[in-house]
């Protein structure tokens, strides 16, 4: 019984969410191997080999995998998967894009976004925007699983000593080509990995006002998040969206500013350890999940909070 994990990376750096995924694999209990598919990704392979608990790293380094397109990476994974009982990937946009394609090619089900490992074939996952938790048992010979990073603590990295083996198989579809990428540059911690998240909603009122949140975030070393309403109104970039359809976060501290607390938003943050709500509407549903609620105008509260930290 072996588990293969698809490493999340940008060809230069291993995304730390991979470490959370290794934790889930550790709980399943098999020998753990990692697959790094990319282009010019040797540094990622080196980092992957140092992850505690990983015994083998496969590297498919080819131009065909430069942007990790599902049409190229999925057949590679299927090819490698033959000798595995479990295939895991983080439930990121990359993992969600590729793994169902793998599962269908293999004719097995996929278990999406697991939040707990019950046993090697039984897992827990949220449904209905996190309003119910289903425990599911898989009958398939190969379990294809995406892992919610925020539900598993990262394993240690640095002490591991896995061997690295290059793979030469190249799968390249002529039906898809990469055109361009526009990535947001930010000096703040990544939303998924941040210890503190400061999020703004419709109540913030404008893109300019979002600077108030950014100042607080910078003082706290926090990441900035947003509700769908804030993103749709153009106050924040859409990759900052926290919720059922955006990112799922579980930081130590989540500060919700001007966010009413619709169930779709709560699905993305209600596992946070401490939730603070700052809202001028006393009746906002966000106060039902907040550990500390402050009713007040964010334009008074935020500058005061920032200056006093």
């Amino acid at each position: 019984m072996k588990t293969l994990i698809i490493a999340e990376h940008d060809n230069l750096h291993l995304n730390p969410v991979t470490l959370n995924t290794v934790q889930a694999a550790t709980q399943i209990g098999n020998e753990i191997h990692l697959l790094v598919a990319g282009y010019g990704c040797q540094a990622v392979a080196q980092a992957a080999a140092k992850i505690h608990g990983v015994t083998q790293v496969f590297v498919a380094d080819n131009e065909a995998y430069a942007h990790q397109l599902a049409e190229n990476v999925a057949p590679l994974i299927v090819d490698v998967a033959q000798s595995y009982s479990h295939i895991l990937a983080p439930a990121t946009t990359q993992g969600k894009n590729v793994l169902p394609r793998v599962a269908a090619l293999y004719d097995v089900a996929q278990i999406s976004d697991i939040i707990a490992v019950v046993s090697a074939d039984t897992f827990k996952r949220p449904i209905y925007a996190g309003n119910a938790i289903a425990t599911v048992k898989s009958e398939d010979c190969l379990k294809v699983i995406t892992v919610r990073g925020s539900s598993f603590a990262p394993v240690e990295s640095g002490s591991g000593n896995a061997s690295i083996e290059p793979l030469s198989q190249v799968f390249k579809s002529d039906k898809v080509s990469f055109v361009r990428e526009q990535l947001e540059k930010t000096a703040r911690p990544e939303l998924n990995a941040a210890r503190i998240v400061v999020s703004g909603g419709r109540g913030v009122g404008s893109r300019e006002n979002f600077a108030l949140l950014e100042q607080l975030a910078d003082k706290l070393g926090a990441a900035v998040g947003a509700s769908r309403a804030a993103v749709d109104s153009g106050y924040a970039q859409n990759d900052l969206q926290v919720g059922q359809t955006g990112k799922i976060v579980a930081p130590d501290l989540y500060i919700a500013v001007g966010i009413s607390g619709a169930i779709q938003h709560l699905a993305g943050m209600k596992e946070s350890k401490i939730i603070v709500a700052i809202n001028k509407d006393d009746e906002s549903p966000i106060f039902q999940v907040a550990d500390y609620g402050l009713v007040g105008d964010l334009f008074d509260v935020l500058p005061e909070l920032t200056s006093k930290i």
Partner: protein, 249 residues
């Protein structure tokens, strides 16, 4: 070209669901049901492509019980030309749905298939990708912009960290993200007209397809409740609590 759109009947997104007494699922009797919001965006996109002259026919398909006809009629009222219901038992898994949709794709031969990125009941986010695998078509998931250019389609995708644009050779599969468009409302005359548009019902059993479940649901429970919090009256009190009680800053 012909565009095929898959739609799903789900519990309305505004309904607060509750787990049933036997902890086998959620209580769905007498709840308001609607078209999955991501599917509405898929229907809207297909109709816009038709209005721009890129498509001449929009066909909507649903896999589900007879009651799904309601959602297919809703899609017809929005501007789809005809509908297909693949009548099947409730709660089929994504793989089974993808296999049935693949059979419909083989029959209908659409150039473009549009689905929502996920259904808000099972939150699986799998069917589009699985359909792409089964048909061998390229996939443009989490689309926030779609531009058909002759024999291909440029799809801008919402990825972690920003946007990515891919060019897919048609026929292709697209799954919609929230920001692709804002779905329109059906007008009363169009709702009346939709009643006369063709809606074919086929039985899933007529396809020789293995739809047996691969997963067993052991239990469904309500998530752990958060302990109720407290209201603080000032920034100073908040900071004091965060530093000394919660110890998070």
């Amino acid at each position: 070209m012909k565009i095929l759109v898959a739609v799903k009947r789900v519990v309305d997104y505004n309904v607060k669901i509750s787990v049933n007494a036997s902890q086998t699922g959620v209580e769905t009797t007498n709840l308001k049901m609607s078209m999955n919001p991501f599917c509405e965006i898929a229907v809207e996109e297909a109709i816009r492509q038709k209005e721009k002259g890129y498509a001449d026919e929009v066909v909507v398909v649903s896999v589900g019980s007879q009651a799904s006809q309601e959602q297919l009629r809703a899609a017809l009222a929005l501007g789809a030309d005809r509908a297909i219901l693949v009548e099947a038992e409730e709660g089929l898994e994504s793989l089974a749905v993808a296999k049935l949709l693949a059979a419909v794709v083989r029959q209908e031969q659409p150039e473009l298939v549009i689905l929502g990125k996920q259904a808000i009941d099972s939150d699986a986010n799998q069917t589009g990708q699985m359909l792409a695998a089964l048909t061998g078509y390229p996939q443009g998931t989490f689309a926030s912009e779609v531009n058909i250019v002759e024999k291909s389609v440029a799809v801008t995708r919402e990825i972690d960290g920003g946007l990515q644009t891919l060019s897919l050779v048609l026929p292709a599969i697209i799954t919609t993200d929230l920001r692709l468009n804002e779905p329109r409302y059906a007008s009363l005359p169009n709702i009346m007209k939709a009643k006369r548009k063709p809606l074919d019902v086929v039985s899933a059993a007529d396809y020789d397809i293995d739809t047996r479940p691969r997963l067993t649901t052991v239990s469904v429970v309500a998530p752990a409740q958060r302990e109720s919090g407290i209201r603080v009256s000032s920034v100073d009190e908040l900071l004091n609590k965060l530093k000394n009680e919660a110890k998070v800053i």
